[in-house]
């Protein structure tokens, strides 16, 4: 599914990477421990997390995930958003908790 459609279906805020929403995403990975994410997430997946440390951008870029979705509107420092923009990482934000956000995704036949 295109990120564009995911943003619309899940009512996400686009914090960085607005120009890359044509990108296709497939599959999900959900974790906040970045060592687990490095070991488990796959290229092209949507990664759901509450972790907002700057390192999420380096890891998303390294793993080539389709986008990071920060849930529960966890506060994100401007430096993290700027780095995402600089690295071409799509950074999205959901106002809902992870479960509700992912449930919507499933209902949208992702």
């Amino acid at each position: 599914m295109k990120l564009e459609k995911i943003v619309a279906e899940l009512d996400l805020k686009v914090l960085a990477g607005a120009a890359q929403l044509e990108r296709e995403a497939q599959g999900c990975y959900i974790a906040d421990l970045l060592s687990c994410v490095m070991a488990g997430a796959q290229p092209g997946q949507l990664w759901f997390t509450l972790q907002t440390h700057l390192n999420i951008i380096a890891i998303a870029s390294m793993l080539e995930v389709a986008a990071i979705v920060v849930t529960e509107e966890a506060p994100i420092a401007p430096a993290t958003v700027e780095r995402a923009a600089a690295e071409g990482v799509v950074l999205l934000s959901s106002s809902e908790p992870t479960y509700e956000t992912v449930a919507k995704l499933i209902r949208a036949n992702y």
């Binding site: 687990c36 440390h53 890891i59």
Partner: protein, 249 residues
């Protein structure tokens, strides 16, 4: 110049102010155990709290054991950071900063254990109800910067542990993080740690016991070669300058 001598050190010791520590972790017993283990330098590092450090310093007076006040601070990202100070004054500036950013919860002694402030004899002074077991909303880099600006040492604790260890939580060494050293577990040698994580190449790696009960004090330690057991000398040894150095046991 003062002669440089070996100081057996354990810079990560909890007291009864840490909910997860045993009730035996009171100042006179900690000092007695440290001395019997041949330690000359320890740091008191309770979770997000410093209130028992002065009592341990007092209990050690005249014994030859130097006690530095410190804290095992849990950052916003849930990374444990040892903050070690040369005296109480900077610790007393750091504590309210931490307290102001704790989660607005109360400790449940039934669930986590009680958090006791005690005097130098180990007698009860008060129970603290702040939620010291959780993170304080201060980012890692900012906490390290503040502690170092106060003249303290910032040392991420047990960095390879999945829970609350820097590399477990954050996966990579953050590029904007400046610290004085990192604490590794003894089952991962500095050489292995640096092979696994190349970002550790320039970071001094030390080991400590993380003692929560008496008989682990000093079981894991670092030996510092210093002219005096002070924070300035420790910093020199970590940087390997002016003839000061360290090695892990």
């Amino acid at each position: 110049m003062a002669a440089i001598r070996a100081y057996q050190a354990d810079l990560h010791i909890h007291t009864v102010l840490s909910a997860c520590a045993e009730v035996e972790m009171i100042p006179p017993l900690i000092v007695a155990e440290a001395l019997s283990q041949g330690l000359y330098l320890i740091a008191i590092t309770d979770h997000n709290a410093t209130a028992n450090a002065a009592a341990v310093m007092e209990a050690a007076r005249g014994t030859g054991l130097t006690v530095l006040p410190g804290m095992e601070f849990q950052t916003q990202e849930e990374v444990d950071l040892l903050c070690i100070f040369g005296s109480l004054a900077p610790a007393l500036i750091w504590q309210p900063e931490v307290s102001a950013h704790l989660l607005p919860l109360q400790n449940d002694p039934e669930l986590f254990g009680p958090q006791f402030v005690v005097d130098a004899e180990g007698d009860f002074v008060r129970e603290e109800l702040s939620f010291y077991q959780g993170p304080a909303q201060i980012p890692l880099e900012e906490a390290a910067r503040t502690v170092r600006a106060l003249g303290g040492l910032a040392i991420p604790a047990h960095i390879t542990r999945p829970a609350k260890g820097l590399l477990g939580v954050l996966g990579l060494w953050p590029s904007a993080l400046h610290v004085d050293a990192a604490e590794v577990s003894p089952n991962l040698s500095p050489l292995e740690a640096r092979q696994r994580f190349s970002s550790l190449a320039d970071i001094p790696l030390i080991t400590n016991s993380d003692a929560h009960w008496l008989d682990t004090i000093g079981q894991i330690r670092t030996i510092f070669f210093l002219a005096a057991p002070t924070i300035t000398e420790l910093r020199r040894a970590l940087n390997g300058v002016e003839g000061r150095y360290f090695r892990i046991s």
